[in-house]
């Protein structure tokens, strides 16, 4: 679970690091990824190998669309319009999903990916979660490498450092920022498709996932993909331990309290630079 948290939080942290915008619709993008997985399975009968890439492609396009239709126009505006824009998008997506898919919880069959449990030193792990976790980690690492080791990555970082200077170097900031939104949404989509293999799907699932993403990003430090990765794993661990030790109802309470505690003690996150 933690690895999947790491993956969808890295999308949030990418957008934050690139352009100082918090995407409040992030959890709802996960939700869309989950529904893409579900409907691909129901209509086409495809498994994770089909709907994972499909969710990535569709959400990449959606992310780019959102950037050009909405974000580009509020990015230089006051903070309130940024928050309102992504929040409005969140509401729209969430309740449109209510309308389209009804409020019922749906799940994919357990045996879809791979079934059974594996016993590692006395700890039982469900195999679907393990596979999802490994894939998520691979994608997160891939994204980190893309950002730090390729030309596109350095162009993205250049735009986030100094938009004008990047423009003078022949980089088109609009294109790069749209790409960042696309990548972030695609990562989120894959995460959604992965979560869908072992988690219930409902229109409101994004709400709690979004808060987990915020906690992860805050803990890892804004704009840091490796930070998000470690924080995601950590939060997944804390969640399972507290669900086991105190009770499943209170696992969210523990995670949210952790968030408030981080804000008090180390607001820049574990790996962030102080402002």
């Amino acid at each position: 679970m933690g690895a999947v948290y790491a993956l969808f939080s890295s999308g949030l942290t990418l957008i934050w690091g690139m352009m100082n915008v918090i995407n409040f619709a992030h959890g709802d993008l996960v939700m869309i990824g989950m529904y893409i997985a579900f409907w691909t399975y129901v209509l086409l009968g495809g498994g994770p190998a089909v709907f994972g890439p499909l969710a990535a492609i569709l959400l990449f396009m959606f992310g780019v669309l959102v950037y050009f239709a909405l974000i580009r126009h509020v990015i230089d505006g006051p903070i309130i319009s940024q928050i309102l824009a992504t929040f409005g998008l969140a509401l729209l997506l969430r309740y449109a999903a209510f309308w389209a898919f009804s409020a019922d919880f749906v799940t994919l069959p357990d045996t879809l990916l791979i079934s059974g449990n594996i016993d590692i030193g006395g700890i039982l792990i469900e195999l679907p979660r393990l596979v999802a976790g490994v894939v998520a980690l691979a994608v997160t690492v891939g994204m980190h490498l893309l950002l730090t080791r390729t030309t596109i990555g350095s162009q993205l970082l250049a735009v986030s450092e100094d938009r004008n200077a990047a423009m003078l170097m022949g980089i088109r900031p609009d294109r790069m920022q749209a790409l960042a939104w696309g990548l972030a949404a695609a990562a989120t989509g894959i995460a959604g498709a992965l979560i869908a293999t072992f988690y219930y799907i409902s229109p409101t699932v994004g709400e709690s996932l979004a808060i987990i993403a915020f906690v992860t990003v805050a803990l890892g430090g804004f704009g840091s993909v490796p930070g998000a990765m470690i924080a995601g794993l950590l939060i997944g661990l804390i969640e399972s331990v507290s669900a086991y030790a105190i009770g499943p109802v209170y696992k969210d309470v523990i995670v949210y309290s952790l968030f408030v505690a981080v804000l008090w003690v180390r607001p820049q996150g574990l790996f962030g630079r102080p402002e």
Partner: protein
């Protein structure tokens, strides 16, 4: 000019129950005022100080729950829980405000969401406050102190009074030194700080004041509705409604939130009656669309449109007047 506008608005609201009578309109009028009250309270910190709280439901729910808690626990009239609710809300505001106001705006928005969700889950699992079922008020009024009336009219006038008080305070703040401080914080915080504005302190004051009035709005809500559960008290949509009403009317303007409530509450009630249960979903799809369009085209809300218009139309005449 402002004072006159205020008197006209007040007169219109006092006269409303005589113009459109009947329980439907009276209830709607009371709801408009209630939403306007919480949106105006949000507006203090979200509009004037420019700190976007997405978790104001915390204060609304706290006010609502403490009012019914003192009734259920000790049999006291719900009104007596109001001071306690306000006190707890101020405490929560301080706990959220002190760490996050040192940071940039987004942290505050996120912290407010997280705290609101945290408290919602805690309340929903705490048997002492009714857990997932929530709390109910007195079924039958025992004394007049229970403030339980069958007609919406007494509530209506109560809400008019409290809203008038809040708007008067807001107006006084606008005209005072604090108003200048807040506008400078909202405009460019770093510049404000370098000019010697005690930024953190004033953000915190505003947040505390806003929290108190939101708690009061929550308490008034349960007086009228007589019932609260975790979602209607602490749900994220409660916070969202305050934001969207203030933003539609115009965040950071005196009458903006009221204007937003006048437009959106009847819209919501109508879609709810037209579409029944499914209406809630459609309402929020519409809300989401409105917020996005606002952010994209009119970040200053409807009052912003009016100000642009007024500036264009009225400014030349004023200048002529001064020249003459």
């Amino acid at each position: 000019m402002r004072a006159w506008a205020g008197l006209v608005v007040a007169a219109a609201f006092l006269a409303f129950p005589w113009i459109l009578s009947g329980p439907f309109y009276e209830r709607m009028g009371a709801l408009v005022l209630l939403y306007a009250l919480s949106a105006s309270a949000w507006n203090l910190v979200g509009g004037y100080a420019g700190q976007i709280s997405v978790g104001h439901a915390v204060f609304f729910g706290t006010g609502a729950y403490t009012a019914l808690f003192v009734f259920n626990q000790w049999g006291l009239p719900p009104v007596t829980g109001i001071p306690l609710g306000i006190l707890i809300s101020i405490l929560i505001a301080v706990v959220i405000g002190i760490p996050t106001f040192r940071l940039r705006g987004h942290y505050f928005a996120m912290a407010t969401i997280a705290v609101a969700e945290l408290i919602r889950i805690l309340v929903a699992n705490w048997p002492l406050v009714g857990a997932a079922l929530g709390l109910g008020g007195p079924m039958v009024p025992r004394t007049w102190l229970d403030l339980s009336f069958r007609s919406p009219i007494p509530y209506y006038y109560m809400f008019v009074g409290v809203l008038a008080l809040l708007l008067w305070i807001t107006w006084q703040i606008e005209r005072s030194r604090m108003g200048y401080y807040l506008r400078s914080i909202q405009g460019e915080e770093r510049a404000a700080r370098s000019l010697g504005v005690p930024v953190h302190r004033y953000k915190l004051y505003t947040y505390m004041l806003s929290a108190s009035f939101t708690a009061l709005a929550g308490a008034l809500y349960v007086l009228m509705v007589g019932f609260i559960d975790p979602d209607s008290g602490f749900g994220i949509l409660v916070s969202v409604e305050m934001i969207i009403m203030a933003a539609l009317g115009g965040a950071g303007t005196l009458f903006g939130p009221l204007l937003g409530a006048i437009i959106l509450v009847p819209l919501k009630e109508t879609t709810n009656t037209l579409f029944g249960g499914a209406g809630t979903g459609i309402t929020y799809v519409v809300y989401g669309g409105i917020i996005m369009l606002l952010a994209r085209y009119r970040p200053r809300g409807l009052m912003g449109i009016w100000h642009d218009f007024a500036e264009r139309r009225l400014q030349p005449r004023e200048r002529d007047y001064r020249a003459a």
